[in-house]
C-alpha cells in the first residue's frame, strides 16, 4: 500500500471505477423514474454486457468482438496524445482503412494468409497516409491538428460514402454495399456463430506493442518527451517535429488497421453508413483509460459491454429505450471527466486515515 508504484496503479483504477459506480447510481435514479424494476435492470445490464446465457453462448464474446476496433482506435489516440498531438482523426483513418481493405478484398485474388496480410498492410498504409496529412500541416504550417482532423474526418466520410455508392457498389440493392471480400481475405473467428476471432488477438498484440513502443524504445521516448515539453525536447536534442509526424503515422496506421479488421472479421464488406462512430468511441476509451494502452484495453471492453447491456439488453428485456442506455454511458464519461473530484477526495481520505493511524499530534486548537 505504501509502495508508490502500487499506489499509482490503484489510483489509476480507482478513479474510473468510482466514476462507473456513480454512473450506475444515476442510472438507478433514471430507472426509478421510469417505474421499471431497479435490481432487475442492473442484473440485465451486467448479464447482457458481460455474462453467459448458457455454456458456449456468451454475450461477453460479443462484447469482446465489439471492443476490438475500439481498442485499436483507442491505441491510435493514445499514440497521438502521448506525443503531444491532439488528433481526433481516428474516425477518418478508420473509414479509409476499411475502404482500402474492402477493395483489396474483392479486387485482387491471392492465397489465404497472404491475402489477409495484403489487406491489413494496405489499410495500415492508407491510414498512416491520412494521419500524415495533419501531422505535416501541423509541423510545417502550424495548422492546429484538432481542427485539421475534424475536417479530414468529414472528408473521409464523404469519400467512403461516394466509393460505396458508386465505384465499389456491388449491386443495385437499396442499401449500397461493396462486394463480399474473398474468403482468403477473411479473418477466422474462434467460435461458430460469433465474429470474435483473430482480430481480437491482433488488438491484444497491438496493446502490448504500443506499450513497449512508447515506454521501451528510443522513438517512443522521443515522442513522449516531445509531447510533454517541446522546449525540453529541443534542449535535449530530440527532433520534436519528426517525433510528431511519426506519431501521426503510427496513430493513422492503428486506426486504419482497426478499419481493416472490422471489414475482414465482421462485415466482410463495406456498406453505406459503415461509420457508427467507432473512431470517436475509441477516442473516449483512450481518455477514460488514462491515455494508457492497458487502460484503453480495459475501458474498451467495459465500454462495449455497457453499450450492449444498457442499450440493447435493457431495451429488449425491459422495454427501456436505448437512449437511456446512451444517457448512462454519457453520465459515466462525465463522471470520469470530473475525475479530479475523486482524486481530491481520495487524497483527503488518505490524509485523514494517516492521521488517525497515529501521528499523535496535539489536537486542533482553534
Amino acid at each position: 500500500m505504501n509502495d508508490p508504484r502500487v499506489r499509482k496503479v490503484l489510483d489509476a483504477i480507482l478513479v474510473p471505477l468510482l466514476a462507473v459506480l456513480s454512473g450506475l447510481v444515476v442510472m438507478g435514479i433514471l430507472i426509478l423514474f421510469l417505474k421499471k424494476p431497479l435490481f432487475e435492470s442492473y442484473a440485465i445490464l451486467f448479464s447482457n454486457g458481460f455474462g453467459c446465457k448458457e455454456y458456449g453462448n456468451c454475450i461477453f464474446i460479443t462484447t469482446l468482438e465489439r471492443a476490438t476496433p475500439l481498442i485499436l482506435t483507442g491505441l491510435s489516440a493514445v499514440v497521438a496524445f502521448r506525443s503531444g498531438m491532439f488528433s481526433i482523426g481516428q474516425e477518418g483513418q478508420y473509414l479509409l482503412g476499411a475502404a482500402a481493405a474492402a477493395w483489396l478484398g474483392y479486387a485482387i485474388h491471392l492465397p489465404p494468409v497472404l491475402h489477409a496480410l495484403v489487406l491489413m498492410t494496405g489499410a495500415i498504409l492508407v491510414g498512416a497516409a491520412y494521419g500524415w496529412i495533419p501531422g505535416v500541416l501541423r509541423v510545417k504550417l502550424g495548422v492546429n491538428e484538432l481542427l485539421a482532423t475534424i475536417m479530414l474526418n468529414s472528408i473521409a466520410a464523404l469519400i467512403v460514402e461516394y466509393l460505396v455508392q458508386f465505384p465499389m457498389r456491388a449491386d443495385t440493392s437499396a442499401v449500397a454495399h461493396s462486394p463480399v471480400i474473398d474468403t482468403s481475405a477473411q479473418l477466422m473467428s474462434f467460435l461458430p456463430g460469433s465474429k470474435w476471432g483473430v482480430g481480437f488477438v491482433i488488438a491484444v498484440l497491438a496493446v502490448i506493442g504500443v506499450y513497449l513502443y512508447l515506454w521501451r524504445t528510443k522513438s517512443g521516448y522521443e515522442q513522449r518527451m516531445a509531447g510533454q515539453s517541446k522546449r525540453f525536447a529541443l534542449f535535449g536534442g530530440i527532433h520534436s517535429d519528426q517525433a510528431a509526424i511519426r506519431a501521426m503515422l503510427i496513430s493513422g496506421a492503428l486506426a486504419g488497421l482497426a478499419g481493416a479488421i472490422e471489414v475482414m472479421g465482421v462485415h466482410r464488406r463495406i456498406m453505406t453508413g459503415f461509420s457508427v462512430g467507432l473512431g470517436f468511441d475509441g477516442l473516449t476509451s483512450a481518455i477514460l483509460g488514462q491515455v494508457h494502452p492497458f487502460g484503453v484495453f480495459i475501458v474498451a471492453i467495459l465500454f462495449s459491454g455497457l453499450k450492449l447491456g444498457a442499450q440493447l439488453g435493457l431495451q429488449l428485456n425491459l422495454d427501456i429505450p436505448r437512449e437511456l442506455g446512451g444517457t448512462i454511458i454519457g453520465f459515466i464519461i462525465l463522471f470520469v471527466a470530473a475525475g479530479k473530484l475523486y482524486e481530491e477526495n481520495i487524497a483527503r481520505a488518505r490524509e485523514w486515515s494517516a492521521r488517525k493511524r497515529g501521528n499523535p499530534m496535539k489536537g486542533e486548537s482553534h
Binding site: 521516448y221 525540453f232 534542449f235 494517516a354
Partner: protein, 519 residues
Amino acid sequence: MTPAIEMKGITKYFASTHVRANEQVDFSVERGEIHALVGENGAGKTTLMNILYGLIKPDAGEILIDSQNVRIDNPDDAIRHGIGMVHQHFKLVSSFTVAENILLGMEPQQAGFLDQQKENELVDQLAKRYNLPVNPAARIRDLPVSMQQRVEILKVLERNAKILVLDEPTAVLTPQEVNELITVIRKLSEQGYTIIFITHKLIEVMSVADRVSVMRGGKMIGTKKVSETSIPELARMMVGREVLLRVKKEERPRGDVVLDVKDISISDVNGLAAISHVSFQVHKGEIVGIAGVSGNGQTELVEAIAGMNSLDGGEFLFKGKSINDASVGERRDMGMAHIPEDRMVVGLNLQTTLDENLIVSRYDHSEFSRYGFLLMKAISEFAERVVRAFSIAAARPGEGISMLSGGNLQKVVVGRELAGDPTFIIANQPTRGLDVGSIEFVHKTLVEERDKGAGVLLVSVELDEVMALSDRILVLYRGTIQGELDAATATEEEVGILMAGGTLEDLQRQPEGSSQEVK
C-alpha cells in the same frame, strides 16, 4: 512593543508527501518592522506564510493578531485581519488593466455598470498616496515584471492590509528593480506597515530588514536583529553547517581554445537583433563570465551556442571545427554541456521520471539503447550513479521529480550535464532561485570542472557570482560586448559601469560620482 503577529506551535504534516513542513514553529513579528524570513528551499517558509494567509490549515498551533487569538480559515479571513500577501507568482489577470486588477471584486458601480473613469481615478489616488506611480489604464500583459509586482502591492494596500507578506519578491527582479523595491518597502515601513519578507538572498536581508528569522527543515532555528548578526552566521543557521560563501579557486594555466565565437549575430523571437557582431573565445580550464543585466541578449547567445537557435551571421568553431550546421545532439556528443536558465520548462521535464530526465541528452548512445530499444537496467543504474555522485538526497530513480525543491532540481540538471565529463559547459544563471547551500554546491562543481580542464561559459545577472567564479569577465550590453575585464583585477564598479552601457573611461572621468551620462 506588542507583536503584530504571533504564531505559536504551528505544526503541519503533509501525508501525501510524508513531509513535516512545519514543526512546532513559533514566529512573531512586531508592528512596523521589516522582518525577513529566510531558509533553504523546502525549509517551510512558504508553508508557514500560507498558514498565516489561510491557504493551508495547520494540524496544530495558534495565531494571534494584536494579542487576540484569531482563526484564519481562508484568505478572506486573513484580509479581514489586515494581512495581505504578494505571491511569488503573481495572481493578476493579464488581459485586464491595472485599475481593473487592483479593484477586482470591489469595483465602483453605477446601477450595475462599471465606471472605468472612476476606477482609474481611484487607482491614481491610491498610487499617489503611497508614492507608487502606475498607469491605471495599462494592461498587465504589457507591463514589466517589476511593475506587475507594484500592482500586486497596491492591490493588497487597497484591501486595507496592515501586514504585508512578500514571498520571494526579488526572485524575478533585476538588480535595479530590487533596489527600487527595497525603497518601496522602507517607505511602507515608515508609514507604519508591518512587512514580512521571504527570501534566501542574505545580502537583501542585511540591506532591508530590521530582524530576521531563520527556518531549517520545518523548524524555527532562531530570530536575530540584523544589526547583531552577519551573513556567515545566517548562512550557517540556514544550512546547519559552515558554508563557503565564496568558493576557493586557484590559479590554473588555461589550455587550448575550446569555443571560438566569430562575429555572430542573432535575432530574437520578434526578429529584432538580440546579438550583433559578437566575438570571443573560451579556453579549456577557464571560466569566462558573461555579466549583464538580463535581456541584453544572454538567452539568445546561449541558445545559439547550444544549437537551439539559428545564427543570422558569423560562425562557431568548437574544438576547431565549425558547428554552425551541427544539431543540438551532435554538439552534445562533441562534449558540450548546457545548464539552462529555466530548469522547470527547458532543463527538465517535470512530468516524467528522474531516469527519463537524466538520459535526455544521451538516450541514443549505445550505453543506453540497442536496436532502438532502451536499456532499462543500464538507465536506472545510471540514475542511481548520478544520484549518489551528486548526493541528490530527495530524488529516487524511477520516480517523478515534480515534488523536488528548486535546489534538488538544479542538482538533477547539473548532475546530468556533468555526468558525461564535458569539455565545455554553458552555465546560464546556474544558481537562480537557489539557497546558499545549493549555490555553494553549484559553484564548487563548476570550479572543479574548470580545474579538470573543461571550459566554462558562465552567464549570470548576479554580479557577485560572475566576480567570484570567473577568470575573465565579458560584459554584454544591448547585444554587444561592452568590455572585457580580467577577473583578478576587476572591481565591481568597473563591471557595473559596463553593465549600464558606460565605458571604463567614464569611470575615470567622473571622480565625483555623478553618473548623468550613464543610462
